[in-house]
């Protein structure tokens, strides 16, 4: 009997059933995809880092190196399992030509290495350790993705010719977020090109037990060993490798949460309307002695059927789509060991959605208990009350057209009923606006200021070279005589010892110079102005557990220097652990210098960059826009794609929900429609009233959605952005698209859906509906 009831019911309300099913299917698909991706990502990442034997601790160092001393340290430290020093040959981009085009414009530090002996292997795309022959060149996989080169291409490094033999996965430097890229050549070839560039050393350790990492870091720092360069640890590498795909998963999870919420609202809404429709029958069933649980079964069975079909559909869709989403993970990290597991977890996720729906339907059906049989039989409907429309009378309305007035009045009189539609519209406009604002923000020029980079046009990096200060002075001289340069500043980074809370000593990189010329955004406080002031990056401030006004002690040539913290800022450069101060110092070696310049005429940037690049061969000259594009380019373009997809998803949701809402509303309002028609309102009047209702709800929805997007959305996105190291964050909004085009799109969607959804209003026959 249940089967027959369910079948008839579904056939009677095809559109509504189908829409609900679609929402269930989409939420099931998203949950399953998220599960599959999480399992694959963590599996593939583990596999990659296991196969490559990624170092647990790595200190980059340029300059003199005492390998014997390092070896002794490694042998004596009982935490160390294995130790090696690898050479990384830094070459100017212009010296590397891949398939005809040089890497001169690349902001990555492109360097060359030979295959390691002990660990930190470079792997081919099958996960095997590459055995490279003379004349062969293996290129980082990221250059395959952006089509810089392909297998078989000719490559020229300096004067040596190579053939691109394949691509490599580098468990350390795979991600575009990591600033360096390693190319692999044979030992003989390496020896041949060694003289072309400067050597940077990667001092690498594998520990017996990863949990001892913190203690080991301390031991390394206090041993006063080579430390002229960034320090990178295993967990940080894992984070960097997981970040871009992790963000995609986060976005999918966020969207799936929203779609699940919408699916629940649809179910609640259709269920309540159905109960309303069947009110009298429910009363009768109760009166003739059917048990509430029996009645619940009928409704529950219907939704179980819808949810089951939706879930199966969702599973099929997720299996269909997982390939596309896994492409990136497969390319960069390879196949996961537990990919067969992944589908299992996907199914588990879907099962969870299914059970949640059943539980929710059962929860909504609790109200059966409250229905009084007598009342249901007598009135046939719940006794609704009008609330909150005091003072809004037709007899005092001169402003609005009567149809518009009636539309708005109806919404105000039945607020609870319209809440569902409102909630969906709020969510939709939220989904439209937030990704779009995020895209605008991260693609705007001001954004880099949140990332620890000032707003300049051109930067010149001088590093891995001798006599950095003289070379800097040389460039400054040129700039002084160049009238197209309106202002510039030199920022020099040095490493100092810093006293930790427990009196032990650590290293801190401090960027010295005038920080007021190209200011960055400070999340707290301000730039250092006085000699005794210092600003810390968020990561450093957290690590040293310092806040504004606290004092930190640097040790310079054995003497203590106390500095007050004037500000804290976000930074993505140099591993995020930096500091800024203005004091002058001649003691420590310069690690690197950057010269930032602003041009009087913005259009000259490209020309000036190449002019300086030609003039200076010991430094890297880059266009800041180029720098941003290459560092964040792939992130920006994926956010762009995501925001376009979000718009489509939100519009589809809007159309579907408005459609079922309007269809149900017309069914519910047949009596009122008949009354209006009897008293001389035309079909177009009725339509105008429904359009007024939906537009009114929509406007409230857009306003609320926009407010939410700019508050909650900003906080949410801020949380994501903080993964990049930026701690404070404000949306850069494009008003035209956020406040004009997006609302217009939604209005169009709602209007079309309302028109289609209310087409049934014209068919309402007065004579059939006016007698109750």
């Amino acid at each position: 009997m249940y089967n027959r009831i369910i079948r008839n019911d579904i056939l009677k309300s095809k559109v509504i059933t189908l829409t609900t099913m679609i929402f269930v299917a989409v939420s099931a698909m998203l949950v399953s995809l998220a599960a599959i991706l999480v399992i694959n990502l963590s599996g593939a990442l583990d596999t990659l880092m296991k196969q490559a034997k990624t170092p647990h601790f790595m200190q980059m160092h340029s300059g003199e190196i005492d390998i014997a001393r390092l070896t002794t340290f490694a042998e004596r430290n009982n935490k160390v399992d294995d130790f090696q020093v690898i050479e990384f040959l830094n070459l100017d981009g212009a010296q590397t030509i891949l398939g005809g085009s040089s890497l001169a414009n690349s902001v990555q530090d492109n360097g060359f290495s030979i295959q390691s002996d002990k660990f930190d292997y470079l792997l081919d795309l099958n996960g095997n350790i590459i055995n490279v022959s003379d004349g062969e060149l293996y290129v980082p996989v990221t250059y395959m993705k952006d089509n810089t080169t392909k297998v078989g291409d000719k490559a020229v490094i300096g004067r040596e010719e190579f053939t691109v033999a394949g691509f490599l996965r580098d468990s350390q430097m795979n991600s575009t977020l990591s600033a360096s890229k390693r190319f692999l050549v044979s030992k003989n070839d390496y020896a041949a090109i060694k003289s072309l560039g400067s050597i940077e050393y990667l001092i690498e350790f594998r520990l017996k037990d990863l949990s001892a990492l913190g203690a080991f870091e301390m031991a390394y720092a206090s041993a006063g060993l080579e430390a002229n360069g960034p320090t990178i640890t295993y967990p940080l590498l894992k984070l960097i490798n997981a970040l871009s795909d992790g963000m995609m998963i986060a976005v999918i999870l966020l969207i799936s949460a929203l779609v699940v919420a919408i699916a629940f609202m649809c179910i609640r809404f259709t269920l309540l309307a159905k109960i309303e429709d069947d009110y009298r029958e429910i009363g009768v069933m109760k009166a003739i002695g059917l048990r509430v649980s029996d009645m619940k079964k009928i409704y529950l069975a219907k939704y179980a059927a819808i949810a089951a079909i939706g879930s199966i559909l969702g599973l099929a869709l997720s299996i269909m789509f997982k390939g596309i989403l896994l492409e990136n993970i497969r390319l960069y990290m390879g196949e996961s060991e537990n990919s067969s597991f992944a589908v299992l977890f996907g199914i588990l996720g879907i099962l969870l959605v299914f059970l949640a729906i059943i539980a929710y339907v059962s929860f909504v059906l609790r109200r059966f208990r409250k229905i009084s049989a007598a009342e249901a039989i007598r009135y046939g409907t719940t006794q609704e009350k009008n609330r909150g429309t005091k003072g809004f009378y037709l007899s005092r309305n001169r402003l609005l057209h009567t149809n518009i007035f009636l539309g708005i009045k109806d919404v105000l009189a039945r607020k609870r009923f319209y809440t569902t539609m409102l909630a969906v519209l709020v969510i939709s406009s939220f989904i439209i606006i937030v990704p779009q604002n995020l895209y605008n923000t991260i693609s705007s020029k001001g954004f880099i200021q949140y990332m620890g980079i000032g707003n300049y046009d051109m930067r010149i990096d001088i590093q891995q070279t001798d006599n950095i200060s003289e070379k800097g002075a040389e460039i400054i001289k040129k700039m002084n005589s160049d009238n197209t340069i309106s202002k510039y500043t030199v920022l020099t980074t040095k490493t100092f010892k810093v006293k930790m809370e427990d009196e032990s000593e650590g290293n801190i990189k401090v960027e010295l110079g005038d920080h007021s010329i190209f200011p960055i955004e400070y999340s707290e406080g301000r730039a250092p102005f006085a000699e005794k002031e210092i600003a810390l990056s968020t990561l450093n401030a957290d690590e040293l557990s310092k806040k504004i006004g606290d004092v930190i002690t640097l040790v310079i040539e054995g003497k203590e220097k106390k500095l007050t913290i004037s500000g804290i800022y976000s930074d993505i450069t140099n591993g995020g652990k930096t500091a800024k101060a203005v004091f002058t110092d001649n003691s420590a070696d310069i690690m690197w210098s950057i010269i930032c310049a602003e041009l009087s005429d913005n259009s000259l940037v490209e020309k000036k960059v190449s002019e300086y690049a030609d003039m200076i061969d010991f430094a890297k000259v880059s266009d800041i826009d180029e720098f941003v594009t290459q560092t964040f380019g792939s992130t920006i373009s994926s956010v762009d794609k995501a925001s376009n997809a979000a718009i489509v998803v939100a519009l589809v949701i809007t159309v579907l929900v408005t459609l079922i809402f309007m269809k149900m509303l017309v069914a519910k309002d047949r009596y009122s429609i008949a009354v209006m028609k009897a008293f001389g309102f035309t079909n177009s009047d009725i339509k105008a009233q429904y359009v007024s209702r939906s537009v009114f709800v929509l406007i409230v929805g857009i306003v609320l959605g926009t407010l939410l997007a700019n508050t909650l959305g900003e906080v949410l996105v801020g949380a994501i952005i903080s993964l990049f190291g930026a701690s404070t964050f404000k949306f850069a909004v494009n008003p035209l698209s956020a406040y004009l085009f997006s609302p217009l799109l939604m209005i169009c969607a709602v209007l079309i859906a309302t028109m289609i959804g209310t087409s049934g209003a014209g068919q309402v026959k007065i004579s059939e509906n006016i007698k109750e």
């Binding site: 309305n397 009045k409 039945r414 001389g680 007698k771």
Partner: protein, 252 residues
């Protein structure tokens, strides 16, 4: 006397094929301007259907309906709406009002469609009508906060507001107790005395006896007619007796 409505051999059927069933089986009827008529008949005889057909709320399958010299079969959906709004008034058995509006707003609703600018004048007129039918103090009440009789009076105010040529009443007193019913009929008599034609559908002999012409329907046909002198407040029992006698005679 000018005729406000002419129904000429009206056929209205429901169902299809073998199931088809004529609810109105060639009914012809004429109503004069200012006339007060009633249609009587048992349930299912077609009296409400006749009213829906004559007022253009329902289309017919055969014959034609002329309202105020216009053939309704040639009039479009929108114009039919206009006619109903400006020249006809309706009072139904159940209070056909919108739950979201208060009493006054429900009364002025049809007139507000075209005359929003005159809202003050329309509201004034509505208040005067409400005073006349003794519900002046209820204008701000919700429709769930007043009695059935009061709601029916409000319905009459709504029907009268546009100065219609005719008021259709479909069992307007059907849901009321007899005292309220007679009070409503007093109001109808007054309105009729002012020159508005009224057509009531009823199965209550006491209600029909207040009119001046009664048509009796059975199985989709008008089977008989009874004329009475204009009601002047006297001889109510005699009139009711005549009506019931006629009902016995026909067998309804």
């Amino acid at each position: 006397m000018k005729k406000i409505i002419i129904g000429d051999h009206i056929v209205k059927s429901f169902g299809e094929g073998d199931e088809q069933h004529n609810v109105l089986d060639g009914v012809s009827v004429e109503i004069n301007e200012g006339e007060f008529v009633a249609v009587m008949g048992p349930s299912g005889s077609g009296k409400s259907t006749l009213m829906f057909a004559l007022s253009g709320m329902d289309s017919v399958n055969g014959g034609k309906v002329i309202f105020d010299e216009r053939d309704l079969s040639t009039v479009g959906e929108n114009e039919l709406s206009d006619l109903r709004r400006t020249k006809m008034g309706f009072v139904f058995q159940q209070p056909t009002m919108l739950k979201s509006l208060n009493i006054l707003d429900n009364i002025i609703l049809p007139s507000m469609r075209d005359n929003r600018k005159n809202v003050a004048k329309i509201s004034e007129k509505a208040r005067a009508l409400m005073k006349r039918v003794d519900i002046a103090e209820l204008e701000k009440r919700d429709i769930t906060q007043v009695s059935g009789g009061q709601l029916q009076r409000a319905g009459i105010c709504r029907a009268l507001l546009s100065n219609p040529k005719i008021i259709f009443g479909d069992e307007p007193t059907g849901a009321l107790n007899s005292k309220s019913a007679q009070e409503i009929m007093d109001i109808f008599s007054e309105i009729n005395a002012d020159g508005t034609a009224i057509m009531l559908v009823t199965h209550d002999a006491k209600i029909a006896a207040r009119t001046e012409r009664i048509m009796f329907m059975l199985d989709g046909k008008i089977v008989s007619e009874l004329k009475l002198p204009r009601f002047d407040g006297t001889d109510m029992d005699g009139r009711v007796e005549k009506v019931t006698a006629k009902m016995w005679e026909i067998g309804i």
